[in-house]
Structure formats: C-alpha cells, structure tokens
C-alpha cells in the first residue's frame, strides 16, 4: 500500500499470454520487460508487477500487498469476497463446464438416475455445489487440485466440473462437455482500501484498459 505507485498482481501461465497485449496497449509500465516465469517481481516506472498463480492473485489483493490484480472469474466464484471487482477483460474462450464419460448414459439420464448419489470431481467445490444446489441437489463433491479428468476416467467420479477452453483435453480422455455452467473471463480486481486511497490512479488505469479492449481486433 505504498502510495507512490500501483502494485499489480498478475497471473502466470496461460492467462498471461492473453492478458499481456491488452496491458501493453493500455500503457501499463513494465509489461514489455516482464518475464513471469523467471522473475516474480518486476519493478517499473510508477508501478510494480507481481506474478503468481491465478488462484493466489486474489489473496495478494485482499491482503493489500497488491492494489490491483487480474485473475479469472473462476477464482472469484470460489474465493472472491472482500475485493472490488472492477472490470471484465473478455479475453479467450474459457468456460466452466460439466463433463461426463462419452461411454456413459446421456447426462440428463445419468443425473436422474444418480441424483444425490452423483459423485462430482472438481477443483471448484463451491461453484460445483452451488450449481447443483440451484437444482435442489447436493451430490458428493470431491475436491481435487487439478487434472480432474482423471477422476472420471478411473471412476473416482461420475462427472467433472472444470474449466474448458477448446474441449480437446476432454475429448482426448473420452469425456464430453454436457453443460456450460458459466462463461469465464479475466477480471480486474482492487483492494478495498487501495480503491479509495488511489482512486484517481485506479480510475485512470480502468479507463485506459477499457479503451485498449475496445481497440482489440474482433474475435
């Protein structure tokens, strides 16, 4: 919460690939020189960039170590309380989906047959539970850290709830996307206190990001 400059917590990995061009076009300092896989902190003129796992970005922002952050809506659905969600960055074609084994019964019949006995593997237990709760169901939700397809392949679970981009990983494992829970995009988030103390700087950055998004080529 140093007041002279803005600290941004940014996601490493695939989100960064989509995000970097927009941040660059919006004139965020330090982006061109940033190397998230090798340098965790990039100091720049008027800003400091912190790179971490998308799931941890929200923690750095909530605790005030970073003023702003960019992370996926998937992360915020699980653990997004206590930060300000400022801007949608609709980059990429991510979605939160439910997938079942291709060889199994069709999804509606599988669901009808299993009901609350359904076993759901996911890295997003709160999101998955809320999805079923909205249908009056409370199946057994099994929390995994990643590679949830495996759970369906080897029979730990009847279905998986996970992030899907092209659907190829699912197909490669003999799974089929049965339902899309929600489109998922990146979001700009702010710390509650920074949002006030640095209202001017943050407002200006939001405007520049909005302009940069408008200038993106369609698709």
């Amino acid at each position: 919460m140093t007041e002279a400059l803005l600290t941004l917590a940014l996601p490493r990995g695939r989100p960064w690939t989509a995000l970097a061009p927009v941040l660059l076009r919006a004139g965020v300092p330090g982006i061109a020189a940033a190397d998230p896989e090798r340098q965790l902190v990039t100091p720049a003129e008027g800003a400091r960039l912190i790179f971490t796992r998308p799931a941890d970005v929200v923690t750095y922002v909530r605790e005030g170590v970073a003023d702003l952050g960019v992370t996926g809506k998937d992360v915020l659905l699980e653990d997004g309380a206590g930060v300000v969600e400022l801007l949608d960055l609709p980059l990429g074609t991510w979605r939160m989906s439910l997938a079942v084994r291709t060889a199994d019964l069709p999804w509606p019949r599988l669901l009808a047959e299993k009901g609350d006995a359904l076993r759901v593997a996911t890295s997003y237990p709160a999101t998955a539970a809320a999805f079923f709760a909205a249908r009056g169901l409370s199946p057994h939700v099994i929390r995994l850290r990643g590679a949830v397809e495996l759970a369906a392949v080897v029979g730990l679970a009847d279905c998986v709830v996970d992030m899907v981009e092209t659907g190829r990983t699912l197909r490669d494992h003999g799974l089929v996307e049965a339902e899309v829970l929600q489109r998922i995009s990146l979001r700009l988030i702010a710390n509650q206190a920074s949002h006030r103390w640095k209202a001017g700087e943050i407002g200006e950055l939001v405007e520049r990001l909005e302009q940069a998004l408008h200038q993106l080529p369609p698709g």
Binding site: M1, E63, G64, A81, L86, D88, N191, Q192
Partner: protein
Amino acid sequence: MEARPLGALDAVLAAVARRRRLEGALRRVLERSGYLEVTVPLLQPAEGTADWGAGYRVLDQDGRVMDLRPDVTGPVARLCAAGDPDGPRPRRLYYQATIFRRVPGEGPREITQAGAERIGGAGDAADRTAADAEVLDLAAECLRESGADRFLLALGNAAYVRERLQSAGLHPEAAEAALRARDHVGLAAAVGPAGAAVAAELRWRGDVRAALAGGIRGEGPAAAEWRVLLRALSAAGLEAVVLVEPGLLLPGSYYTGTVFEILVPGVPWPVGDGGRYDRLLGRWGRPEPAVGFALDCDRLLRALEGEAPAEWARRAWAAVRAPGGAGGGRP
C-alpha cells in the same frame, strides 16, 4: 498445549497497554459527546441477530440455537425498542465489545469493536441529516482522539441507490446485490444496456465539491437529502476527509440511508463502518429512526502501530523472556 483459536488474538504487556489506551481515548470522546455506555449479552438468539454472518453458533441446554453476537447494533436496537421504549430520545448509546463474525478470506474472526448508536428522534429529513452529520463527526473525533491523523470516510446512501435505479425503471434487487458484493461487472450485467448510464453514475466517486456539482444526480428526495448532508459535513469541517461513493452499499441489508466506511492508511480493509437503519427497531414492534457506527479496534490498532497485532504479541513475549525484561516469568 491447545493452539490459539483460529481468528483470535492474544495480547500481553505493551499490546494490552495500547489496547487500553485506545479504549480510553474512545471512551473519552463518546462520553463527552453525551453517549452512555451499554453492555449486551454475548449470546443472542440466532434468528434475532442481524444479517451478518455469525462466526459461531451454539445450542443452549434447552436446545435453542444461539449465536455468539456477530454485531452489537442488533442487540442495542432490541434493547431500545423492547426494553426502553419510553426512555428519552434521541438515545445516545455506546459500547466496547467483542463480536464474532465470518470474514471473507479469513473465516471466523473474534473482533473487538467500539461503536455508537443514536436512536430515535423526529425522523424527518432535517432530523435525519443532523443525526447523520453528528454520527459522522463523532466517528471522525474518535479517530483523531485515537491518534489517527489521516483517515477517509467513504460515504454512500442506500436510499439514493434505490432512487436512481428506480428512476431508470430498473428492478433494484440484483443491482443492489452486486453493489453489496462490490462487483461492478455484476452491476453492469444486472442493469443491462438500458442501465449503463445509471451504472456509470453509481461507479463514479469524487470529493464533496464534485458530488454537489453533479456527481449526485437527480432531484429525488434521497438526492436532495444527501446534498443537504454534504453541505452540513462541509460546515463541520469534514469536507477534506469525505470521499463520496454513490455506489457504496454494505453487507447486511438493514441500512436504509447514509452508509459509510472508515479507511486509515496502512490497513488494507476498512477499520470501521456505519449507517442509518430506520427499519431495524421495527422488528421489535417499535419503528424508530437510528444511525450509528462501529470501529474494529484490532484493525485500528494495526494502523496506529503500523504493524500486525501478532507482531506486537511476539515482541511483548520477547520482552518477558529477555533477561531484565518487565515480567521475567513464563507465559
């Protein structure tokens, strides 16, 4: 040996002294402003507690579900409505108490609060404005007396939010839920393209002058009343510490008008909040206007000392253990 309970803090020696000094400072301000101290039971019937997430729920011996109080405003409102209906008004009451809440990202937390409630009065627009200004001024005085030289009052108005949404022909519920969650993306989705202008109004923020020069929109009663309050705050010398946030709503749905959060440099969360809750006393059969605020003393102490509470405790223990330290005993 038992571990320290999650979300609770130990405090010894210097840390206790600082806490007592803060409590003393707050007590001085509140008492010289004519506020009387109250205490309320630690256990509250679960259905009677306010809309805050209670951190702990217990059963009594008769099987009744009780919450460890998640706030004091609810019990104080009950006390006035049910236990003191014919007492003098406005009632000016204050408390220093421990509450238990679920905090986003942290889980259950034990929080030391100091707060004030101004209950009753004429309840017309002039009375509301005077009472809101009194309570905001009191909060500012509490901060100054505590030693917080710099602070910010982020000021919103729940009635104004509803007025603007309805004036645009929008159903307010989804938009208000998004604002309570501080979700501007969700706000845009809730109001749709037709509500884009209102969403932009509610995302706007600025100082008192800018708010009076057009930041606060429309000629509705809530807008008019809010402008009167801002002029009163300027007259009270608070203009420099007020940030007008038309889209500010607080968790807990009982606020009906003015709402505010208190920010102090060095703490990444608000150190206090408050607002007007004109319908809460009605739950006990006696509607009365009311406005108040509460400070989170743990967070405020963190701001005043510039370090985390756990760090004071560590240093204090180190002082005990060091040769020639103040205590010299074992913990």
